[in-house]
């Protein structure tokens, strides 16, 4: 098993997921299988291969610096659970 219980609990915390005790074993096993599967790639000889980010070797396109998105707040905020004076409201963030 490439991952242990502690690592998976840590990842779950970072992802804000709560794992019940009876879910942990299965999750560790499944995630380990994924990691092992991907690890096979490490076996391929890639010393002379230039890293590629796109199948057609495309590079990032750049857009001109222009404002193209007008204010659409009232429309967009119809999706929000709660708003006040134009602000999105969320449960109090305590620092």
């Amino acid at each position: 098993m490439s991952l242990d219980n502690e690592q998976v609990q840590h990842i779950a915390l970072l992802a804000r997921l709560r794992l019940a005790d009876d879910e942990l074993g299965e999750t560790v096993e499944k995630l380990s299988r994924i990691v092992d599967f991907v690890d096979q790639l490490a076996a391929a000889p890639t010393d002379d291969v230039v890293p590629m980010a796109h199948p057609l070797n495309a590079v990032q396109r750049l857009r001109p610096d222009a404002v193209t998105e007008p204010d659409d707040r009232d429309h967009l905020q119809q999706n929000a659970a709660a708003v006040s004076d134009g602000l999105y409201l969320v449960p109090k963030v305590i620092e």
Binding site: H10, L13, L14, R16, A53, H54, A58, V59, Q60, R61, L62, R63, P64, D65, A66, V67, T68, E69, D71, D72, R73, L76, Q77, A82, S84, D85, G86, L87, Y88, L89, V90, P91, K92, V93, E95
Partner: protein
């Protein structure tokens, strides 16, 4: 003993780039808009949206790199920095990690020993800003304004080459000056366009290994940077001298209390799980573009300062002040070329009375109420002895109040210096006759009283006599 400790500081400066639209979306970046009126679907992290990189952001970052003699990466990569906070709707910030756009630069400051000191710049990378959380005024809720989300930032990371709060501020000022010269940021600290985190540690002098550092956040003025670092240095030395250990942590500077405080909360927060953002391809900057940008670089602060010293024979300290901002330097040069050639005198007026008036009224040099040509006219009238330096201050104030050119004010207020020596002589005689007691004392050896007599004559002439002439005449008459 403070002397046995060496301070090591590195700065991370966040500069907001002066684009009209965001780094990955076409929403506006104007400061001070009503909440969420400049936050589009991309900024709000809606599913199905994709970031498209702003060309101007790439150009600005490359310009900065060239200005600090750094390498512009021919290929750089955006990465996701993952964390949860309500002002970051996507759950990750798009930043750069392994392949930043700018690497390995340098600049020079006046070091603590007075000599030029090289400060290394590790890297500068592009990233998006987060939104703002407002905690006051809501019952068990926070308000989120995402106008700032997606605003382009250039994060400039220095090497740990700084050895005092003073050096840190000198470095920060130099970066501030460079980004404003390049026109890539307005550098407005009140609006948060230019802010800084400081990594501070101390170690016994002579020890190679760095001490444990604390990261200071929330430093949004030059004064706060200096005060926060100085507080932190004292705090760490106290901890070490009491036999304790400095804890690696993030500390927040509280300007009201002038102290730094631990931000305990986030033990796990530094696990950002960076990975290349699959929504963005590598950014390529070809050599031709780099050369085009290099040829478009303006004269930078250091070069301008050296030219000012050579061309105008200014004192180096004055040249430093006059070239701190491009606008001030341009004003100075306009004033020198409009006048009949007294560059140091023009410099003194710009640094002294003009800067004083700007600060007093909270104005920028671009908003000066005295134009460069007006100031040149004033300096010329002092140089040709039309008015004394003292009267010139009155004329300057009148120009500031909008009363016209120096010549107009001198004429309207009758301030022209009395050059007719017989007129001055009559007043000198009158003053001597009116003060027999002081005359006797002076003649008995109390030389300092000459100032009293000069003052009396200047008062009689309402400051319009040439003090040099008055002085000479008084001395001759009193001696006789």
């Amino acid at each position: 003993m403070k002397g046995q400790w060496e301070v090591v500081i590195g700065l991370e400066i966040h500069t907001q780039l002066a684009t009209v639209s965001k780094i990955f979306s076409g929403a506006a970046t104007a400061y001070g808009a009503a909440p969420n009126t400049q936050a589009c679907l991309v900024d709000l992290g809606y599913p199905g949206t994709l970031p498209v990189l702003n060309r101007e952001v790439v150009r600005m970052a490359a310009m900065f790199g060239l200005a600090v003699n750094a390498t512009i990466a021919p290929r750089s990569v955006f990465a996701r920095k993952n964390y949860f906070y309500p002002d970051l709707p996507k759950g990750y910030q798009i930043s750069q990690y392994e392949l930043p756009i700018v690497a390995g630069g340098e600049l020079f400051i006046a070091g603590d020993d007075g000599a030029q000191k090289r400060i290394g710049i590790t890297r500068a990378h592009l990233e998006e800003d987060a939104g703002k959380s407002i905690h006051e005024g809501f019952d068990r809720q926070s308000g989120i304004d995402l106008n700032r989300a997606g605003t382009p930032l250039l994060e400039i990371v220095s090497e740990p080459d700084l050895r005092s709060a003073r050096e840190a501020v000198a470095y920060m000022r130099k970066i501030h000056s460079i980004v404003r010269y390049l026109g890539i940021s307005d550098g407005n600290m009140q609006e948060g366009s230019f802010r800084c985190d400081a990594n501070v540690s101390v170690r016994p002098r002579g020890q190679e290994k760095l001490g444990t550092r604390a990261e200071l956040k929330n430093l949004n003025s030059f004064r706060f940077v200096e005060r926060a670092i100085n507080f932190e240095i004292e705090r760490q030395i106290d901890v070490l001298e009491d036999g304790g250990e400095v804890v690696q942590e993030t500390r927040l500077y509280d300007a009201d209390r002038d102290e730094t405080r631990s931000m305990r909360s986030k033990e796990e927060a530094n696990d950002y799980r960076y990975f290349p953002d699959p929504d963005l391809l590598p950014v390529e900057i070809d050599a031709a573009w780099v050369e085009e940008l290099r040829s478009a670089l303006p004269e930078l602060p250091d070069a301008k300062r050296e030219r000012f010293v050579a061309q105008y024979e200014l004192k180096p300290d004055d040249a430093e002040i006059l070239t701190a901002s491009r606008a001030l330097a341009d004003y100075y040069e306009a004033a020198v070329s409009a006048g009949s050639g007294a560059p140091q005198a023009v410099g003194n007026w710009v640094i002294g009375d003009l800067t004083g008036a700007l600060n007093r009224d909270g104005l920028d040099i671009a908003e000066s109420k005295v134009a460069a040509e007006q100031l040149a006219g004033l300096v010329d009238r002092i140089a040709d002895n039309t008015i004394s330096g003292k009267i010139a201050k009155e004329v300057f104030d009148a120009m500031w109040a909008g009363e016209g050119s120096a010549d107009e004010i001198i004429a309207a207020r009758g301030l022209k210096q009395i050059t007719d020596t017989s007129a001055i002589e009559a007043i000198v005689d009158k003053v001597i006759a009116a003060n027999p007691g002081q005359v006797a004392e002076y003649q008995a050896g109390k030389d300092k009283l000459i100032g009293f007599f000069v003052g009396q004559v200047m008062k009689e002439t309402q400051g319009k006599a040439n003090p040099g002439v008055v002085n000479q005449m008084l001395k001759a008459k009193l001696a006789g």
